[in-house]
Symmetry: C2
Amino acid sequence: MNPSAQLRPALDAIAQAVDTRLDRLLPVPDDPRARLVEAMRYASMAGGKRMRPLLCVAAGDLFEVDKERSLRVAVAAECVHVYSLVHDDLPCMDDDDQRRGKPTTHIEFDEATAVLAGDALQALAYEVLAHPATHDLAEVRAELCLQLAKASGTDGMAGGQMMDLAAEDGGFDLPMTTRLQQLKTGALIGFSVEAGAIMGSAGASERTQLRGYAHDLGLAFQIADDLLDIEGDEDKAGKALGKDEAAGKATFVSLMGVERARSQAQMLIDQAIDHLHGFGSEADLLRAVARFAISRDR
Amino acid sequence: MNPSAQLRPALDAIAQAVDTRLDRLLPVPDDPRARLVEAMRYASMAGGKRMRPLLCVAAGDLFEVDKERSLRVAVAAECVHVYSLVHDDLPCMDDDDQRRGKPTTHIEFDEATAVLAGDALQALAYEVLAHPATHDLAEVRAELCLQLAKASGTDGMAGGQMMDLAAEDGGFDLPMTTRLQQLKTGALIGFSVEAGAIMGSAGASERTQLRGYAHDLGLAFQIADDLLDIEGDEDKAGKALGKDEAAGKATFVSLMGVERARSQAQMLIDQAIDHLHGFGSEADLLRAVARFAISRDR
C-alpha cells in the first residue's frame, strides 16, 4: 500500500474536522462584513492537504492531548498557512490565478478583500490560540502564541517569502535556498509539530526530537514540492506548475538535479523518522506523514 | 494653554520610547530579509501621533503598571495600527501615496514588500505581547493576545475596513457609519485603554469605566478626523485630504453637517471624561488625551 493510501483516512478525517471548526468560527454576519468572512471561508475551507493540521493532531496524540484542543491549534496553524497563500497569490506577489483547483481569492473576490481576508485570518489564529478553550494553562496558550508569531514573522514565514521574492533575481546557492525554505515553509511545519509537545507539556528531550523530525520533514516536503513543480500534473496539483523554472528561480531541483534531489528527500525522510526512535507505535502517524511528504502527487 | 501644548511633552516622550523599542525589536538582518525589516522600520518608526501607545501607557499608569511593560503593549498596539495603515494605503485599497508626510511604504519600497511588512508587523505584535517580558502572569499575556486579536479581526479593525470599502458604494446612514468606525478605529483604541486594566489586574467596574471612556473617545477621535478631512491642512496632516468627500463616502460630517459634528464630538469628549470620575489626578493624562483628540490639527 502506498503511503498516500495508508494516510488517506487520517487526512480525510482531519480535513472534515478542520472544516467543521472553521465553519463554527466564521459565521457570516448580516452586514457589509459578509464579503470579508465569505472570502475567509472560501480561502480556508474545503481544500488543501491539511498537512499542518494533521501534524498538530498527530504530535498532540503522542502526549495524549485532548483532540478538541489539538484541533484548535490545528485550525490556528492552518489559518496562518492559508493567509500566507492568499497574500502570496496576489498580483504584486506571485500573481497566481489558480489554487487548490479553484480561482484564487483575489480572482473570486477582489484584491482588497483578499488582503483583508489574509489579515483577518492571521488575527483569527491568535484569537483561537489565546482563548481559554485551547488549554486550561495560560502558560501554554501564551507559549503557543509566542511560537506561532516567531514562526510567521521576519524570522519565519514572512522572512522566507521576502527571500523568495529576492530569489527571482538569481544568485541563490544551495545553503541560501535551504535557509529560504526553512523560513518559508519549515518554520510553520516546525510550529505544528512542536505545538503538540507544548500542549502536552513534553520534556526538553522529546521537544528536541520533534524539532529534529520537523526540520528534516520540512526540507523533504519542499524538495518534493520542487520535484512536483517540474514533474507534476497541473490538474492534480490544482495550480500552475513550472513557474519557478520559467522565472529562473533557484530550486532544490535546479541546484541538485532531479536524481540527487530525489535521493536527498529520501535521506531526509529516513532521518526524520529516525528522530522518532524514542517513541513507540503512538508515533506511527507522524512516520506515515513523513513517508507521504515525498510520495504525494499534489 | 491648548490641550495639544499641554500634551506635547508626553507625546514626545512616548514617541521616543516607542521608537527606541522598535529599533531594538527590528535589527536589520544581513541577508535578503533586510528589505522586509527596513520596510517595517520605515513604516513604524519616526512618525505618527502615537495616540494608541500613549493610551496604553496612560491607562497602565492608573494601576501603577511597570512602564517598561506598558511600553511593550504600546509597541504591540502601534504595530497593529501601522500594519493596517500600510495595507490600507495599497493601490487595491485606498491607493494613497503619502502618509505622515512621507511616501507610503509601497511607494518607497514596492507593493509586495508592503504586503509582507504589514503581515510581519502583525506577527510582531503577538511576539511582543506573548513574551514573558510583557508580564510575569501568563494569564495576562494570553488575555492581551486574545483581546488584540478580537480588536483587529472581523469583529474589529479588519471588519471595519471591509465596511469602509463597502461605504464607497454609498447608502451608509449614521448608525451604520458609527458601527463602521467603532470597528475600524474604535476597537484598537479600546484595546489600548483596556490593556492597562488587564496589565494592572483591575476590577470589573474599573474595566467598564475605561471601556466607556475608550468608546466615546474613539468616536470623537473619528469625528475630529472627518472634520480635519474637509477643513485641515494637507501639509500638517501629511496625507491627502478630502478623499472621502470626493469618493462620495458617508462620513460623520456629511451625515450631520460641520456644526452638529463639532458639538457631537465635544459632547462625546465630556462623556468620555465623565467615565473617569472614579479616578483622581492619576487619570489626568487620559483626560488630556481626550481633550487633545478633538483639538489636534493632524
